[in-house]
């Protein structure tokens, strides 16, 4: 019985691996980094939305079924470098610390996820690489996990903090027209954490549309506004300048209909999602067509199919197929496992 290949050890891949292994299939789980966990672990996520559970603790729930599982062959610091043949007879070359190895697999789940938009790449208007006190959600996440939210420029507690939404998302000029789905919730979640660490700080979120779908609306957005007194202001900042040692954000306060030029100690850029280098590489290697935004496409054109690609026996799960939150990623991971097992079982019949 050929194993199922899972590429990517983040939330989608972990759940896919554990799912297939749980019904008795052998799984090879390939992870490019030296540790499983994906973005939540490698990028030091503080807490998960919307329930504010500690990210590291929560991740153990999906890590341990893989780590302790005799059916899962975990290959860390390993890359897929070549793919030959068609499922169920895929020959995949894995390159790890001990060199190259060719494995035969019956089916594959691509769970190579996203990477965070780099605000220095296309647009310099927010001065991310210019001003120490301009951060991204990633930088803030790391600081919040360490329970220390200080101005990088001087180590002082910031008196004013703002988030700028939609950085690298919903932007034709940059080429990323999609909404990254989670940033409104993550910024709101971070604003709650900032207020918990610094109750006297004035915290603002500048947005175009608040998109905190489902339970994130009241569990995160309303909570931030009503309980933590976070100030939501419609109109995202146009650009950032510096006056003395303080940042100045410039834009329009659209519900007041007035221009705005306000000093701010720390600015957090709510960077969105882009296909990760791994996702782009796997799309090529497995010869998977991309959907029109450049993420791995699903077969057909129906929202009812979330994991099947146009190649039989090859599935996609999580943010390799487009912006996804953790619920999307883990749900799709489970479904991809089920479909992969079903595909292999169907062959026998």
């Amino acid at each position: 019985m050929k194993p199922i290949l899972v590429v990517g050890g983040g939330p989608a891949g972990l759940v896919a691996a554990a799912g297939a292994a749980g019904v008795g299939r052998k799984v090879i789980l390939v992870e490019a980094k030296d540790k499983l966990g994906g973005n939540p672990i490698h990028n030091h996520y503080s807490v998960f939305t919307p329930n504010q559970v500690d990210a590291e603790t929560a991740m153990k729930e999906i890590l341990s079924p893989v780590e302790k599982n005799p059916n899962v062959d975990v290959r860390l610091s390993t890359m897929v470098t070549a793919v030959e043949g068609e499922a169920p007879n895929l020959k995949v070359t894995l390159k790890g610390a001990k060199g190259e190895e060719k494995v035969d697999v019956g089916a594959a789940v691509i769970a190579t996820g996203f990477e965070h938009f780099d605000p220095g790449r296309e647009t310099q208007v927010y001065g991310y690489y210019e001003y120490d006190d301009v951060l991204t959600l990633l930088d803030a996440e790391k600081m919040l996990k360490a329970k220390q939210f200080l101005r990088p420029s001087n180590g002082q507690k910031p008196k004013s903090v703002c988030f700028i939404q939609c950085v690298g998302s919903r932007d034709r000029q940059i080429g990323n027209q999609w909404c990254s789905k989670v940033c409104c919730g993550i910024a709101s979640q971070q604003s709650i954490e900032v207020k918990e660490l610094l109750p006297d700080a004035k915290v603002f979120i500048f947005y175009i549309d608040m998109r905190t779908y489902g339970f994130w609306e009241d569990d995160i957005y309303w909570k931030a506004q009503e309980e933590k007194k976070v100030n939501y202001i419609r109109g995202i900042v146009t650009e950032i300048t510096k006056r003395g040692d303080q940042l100045v954000i410039k834009g329009e306060d659209t519900t007041m209909g007035r221009p705005m030029e306000v000093p701010m100690d720390v600015v957090v850029l709510s960077v969105g999602m882009e296909p990760s280098p791994g996702t782009k590489a796997m799309a090529k290697m497995f010869n998977l067509p991309l959907e029109h935004h450049g993420w791995i496409g699903r077969a057909g054109n129906s929202p009812l199919n979330t994991v099947s690609t146009s190649r039989a026996g090859v599935f996609v799960a999580g943010a390799a197929g487009g912006p996804a939150d953790l619920e999307d990623s883990t749900s799709q991971g489970g479904l991809a496992a089920l479909k992969a097992v079903g595909y292999l079982n169907g062959l026998k019949a």
Partner: protein
């Protein structure tokens, strides 16, 4: 968008300029625009101190919940004639506006149309009285209101009439129309009629009071009143920021009620209904209370037999905020109007839940002079225009504030002779033979 309110903001960092009403220079009309030319357009800080102060006041917490959906603006009766609305207040607060010391604090009529549509339940009905109470303590309430508070506190009615004259309206009633004064001669009655200030003291209110007395007598209702011992219900004082005065009024009335034996209380006015039904219980006064339209609607079969004379007129009906939105009654007044032979009801487009406020609630009854500086027409004038547009000859009301309010508005909006304002009880009385 906020030019008007901006112009009133404390004049920081700019000189005091003279604002003239009519100035045309080189053919350009710049009347009254001088301040605008010099007020800063740019927001340079979000001073949250006033927002924090406001949301720390018990009762006003929900002021901080607004997410700018702006549903309130579509139904706010004040925004309709000015530039004011709950979501705008929130933004002004967020940009450092001192709401508690601003004119906006007094513009809300507590009509509850915003609360009806607010997805976040930002509750202006609680927020406004709580913040006004602070301003009243600070002595910054408009003079007209302070006079009204003083009157209520000294005379037990907001008009400053002698409390000994409260029962005087009954004097020229014929002998067969009896109105008992239970405070003088207590006896068990089915209905304790809470007459109210406007019915007792205002000339047009007297007309309605007499009509009510005749209708009750014809119906054979066993009823009485508190005579001179009735004080104002206190609800307008409460909503305008005087909770202490409200309690004083309420406690007096509760004490008077406790001396009487009655089945239920029937109020002339929706504000008294609201006070007695929803506010007196927390002070120990628990009663079976009905507005007179509700009471009469419960006796509709008997009433119909007495409605003999046709009233062949087109009538439109104004829903009082405190009968409708606050207490959920839309049907009783319409049922009464529907029972009058010959009467044709033409509804206004803003009716029932969507009814437009007359401007008299929440203390607004005493703020017409103050409001004139902040709106382009009175709310009552706006409403009268709508009433006229239905083609109605008669504007029917059932709140004692409204006959005088709307009669003034009929004149000031240039509709004199086009529209008569009548209390529903007057129409019923007329149909019974007057």
């Amino acid at each position: 968008m906020f030019e008007r309110t901006m112009a009133r903001r404390p004049k920081e960092k700019r000189a005091d300029f003279v604002e003239k009403d009519n100035v045309i220079i080189h053919g350009v009309d710049i009347s009254g625009h001088w301040n605008r030319m010099h007020s800063p357009r740019e927001i340079t800080s979000y001073d949250l101190s006033h927002l924090e102060q406001v949301t720390a006041v018990p009762g006003a917490e929900s002021m901080g919940w607004c997410y700018q959906c702006a549903k309130c603006i579509g139904v706010c009766p004040v925004d309709n004639v000015g530039n004011y609305g709950p979501r705008k207040l929130f933004r002004l607060l967020q940009t450092g506006y001192d709401l508690i010391n601003s004119p906006e604090l007094w513009e809300c009529t507590t009509c509850a149309n915003c609360l009806r549509v607010c997805p976040k339940q930002v509750d202006m009905i609680k927020i406004m009285p709580a913040l006004r109470a602070k301003a009243v303590m600070d002595g910054t309430a408009p003079n007209e209101l302070q006079d009204m508070f003083k009157n209520a506190s000294e005379y037990g009615n907001p008009m400053g009439e002698s409390p000994r004259k409260r029962f005087r309206w009954t004097k020229d009633l014929p002998e067969d129309v009896a109105v008992k004064d239970l405070s003088k001669t207590p006896e068990e009655v089915d209905v304790l009629w809470f007459v109210g200030d406007y019915y007792a003291f205002h000339a047009r209110g007297n007309d309605a009071a007499k009509a009510m007395a005749r209708v009750f007598n014809r119906l054979g209702v066993n009823f009485g009143t508190l005579g001179n011992e009735e004080w104002t219900d206190g609800d307008s004082q409460r909503l305008a920021g005087e909770p202490g005065l409200f309690e004083m009024m309420a406690e007096h009335n509760i004490e008077q009620f406790s001396k009487q034996t009655f089945g239920k209380i029937v109020t002339s006015g929706p504000h008294a209904l609201n006070a007695l039904k929803n506010e007196y219980p927390r002070l120990g006064g628990q009663y079976n209370v009905e507005h007179y339209t509700q009471f009469l609607n419960h006796h509709l079969a008997d009433l119909k037999k007495l409605l003999k004379n046709p009233f062949p007129h087109k009538v439109t009906f104004h829903d009082p905020c405190y009968l409708g939105r606050h207490n959920g009654e839309y049907d009783a007044p319409r049922a009464l109007l529907g029972a009058v032979p010959g009467l044709k009801l033409n509804e206004m487009y803003r009716c029932k839940e969507q009814g437009y406020c007359c401007g008299g609630g929440g203390g607004g009854m005493w703020l017409d002079g103050f409001m004139a500086d902040h709106v382009n027409m009175r709310l009552s004038e706006n409403r009268v225009r709508e009433a006229v547009s239905t083609g109605a000859e008669v504007l029917a009301v059932c709140c004692p504030y409204e006959v005088s309010r709307f009669e003034d508005a009929v004149k000031s909006s240039g509709n004199e002779g086009k529209l008569r304002v009548m209390d529903i009880i007057e129409i019923l009385d007329q149909s019974m033979g007057g």
